[in-house]
Amino acid sequence: MKPVACLLSLLFLSSPLLAADYTMGKGSTLGFTGTFQGEAFKGRFGDFQAKISYDPADLASASFDVTVHLASANTGDTDRDESLPGSDFFNITKFPTAHFVTTRFREEGGKVIAEGTLDLKGVSKPVNLEVTFAPREGGATLDVSARLNRLDFGIGSGDFADTSTIGAEVTVNAHLELESKT
């Protein structure tokens, strides 16, 4: 009797009660903002994948899993874009992708914070995202933003670690157009 009850409850608890699963649709963007010589510049990653499971009413079972192909970084400046793949910055021959996965979601002052781990250039560090989720017909839009210190991940090493020229803080923000998985 006992094993059967267990099985039944497992079945019951699975699919329908899990947070909604989504795929990433067109119009999704992943960008970042840094500063150089006192001026902000924006960049984008053209190539990334996101697996999103999210239900505002059930944060305990939400999860984000994002993979970014670093070679796709573009900041609109030839010199800078030719430097980014190099060993002083992303070092893409050794570390072609960055990976972020959530560990826990919590609410703080009416905002949802996704805690997770960012794996970038061989360094794994905790990073928190601020989450804004808005359901819509057939899916949802999800906006997240995070602030991180580029030096935590060794982005801009050697001479480039000089934060009086290249600011330490980088803001990362993503806008995802989510389609419901059916």
């Binding site: 150089f36 010589q37 006192g38 001026e39 430097s83 001479d159 480039f160 009086s164 020229t165």
Partner: protein, 191 residues
């Protein structure tokens, strides 16, 4: 040395600005030619930033110099043929124009490139034009050409001053030099 100019002698302020700016302009131009050959890296970025900051300083000093020149008086020309004093005044006017055009063309070029413009890491200045890669090439050529032409004019200008000093044996050069004592005029020269 009085700070203001007199009938016969440039004042301390005019001399200071003349020589400080001459040094900064020629120095910054040579530095500009060297820095563009540097290998890519932080050293080059810092060299560019320094070049721009010095250039902006020249622009600021120019505004000060023009204001001062307005307020100050100009010494009377040393006795010389009329064509020479006309040529000298024309050259000085052209030099003033170059002192404006060089940093300004650099600033415009920098804006067209879409580069930031920071004054000695203290504050940023706005772009003077929208980013435009094609036009930036043109502006770069203009900026460099302006420097080479300025150099030619300066050689003529300095050459003329030396000719007056060595052959006319007048005070044209001496009255612009710091700490120099003027030559006594031969009697009959003074009006």
């Amino acid at each position: 040395m009085a700070i203001k100019s007199t009938e016969t002698q440039w004042g301390g302020m005019a001399k200071l600005l003349h020589w400080l700016m001459a040094l900064a302009i020629i120095g910054n131009g040579i530095f500009g030619l060297i820095m563009v050959e540097m290998p890519r890296g932080m050293g080059k970025l810092n060299a560019f930033a320094l070049h721009k900051s010095i250039g902006l300083t020249v622009l600021a000093l120019l505004l000060l110099r023009i204001s001062w020149r307005w307020f100050d008086r100009k010494p009377r020309d040393e006795p010389m043929p009329r064509w020479q004093s006309l040529a000298a005044h024309l050259t000085h006017g052209v030099l003033y124009l170059f002192m404006l055009a060089l940093p300004l063309s650099g600033w415009i070029m920098n804006s067209l490139h879409g580069y930031p413009l920071q004054f000695f890491k203290l504050f940023n200045l706005p772009a003077l034009a929208e980013k435009n890669e094609d036009l930036s090439e043109l502006a770069e050529t203009a900026h460099e050409t302006l420097f080479w032409v300025l150099l030619l004019v300066v050689i003529a200008h300095a050459g003329a001053a030396l000719v007056h000093h060595l052959f006319e044996r007048d005070n044209t050069l001496l009255r612009m030099l710091p700490f120099a004592r003027l030559r006594q005029r031969k009697s009959g020269d003074s009006p």
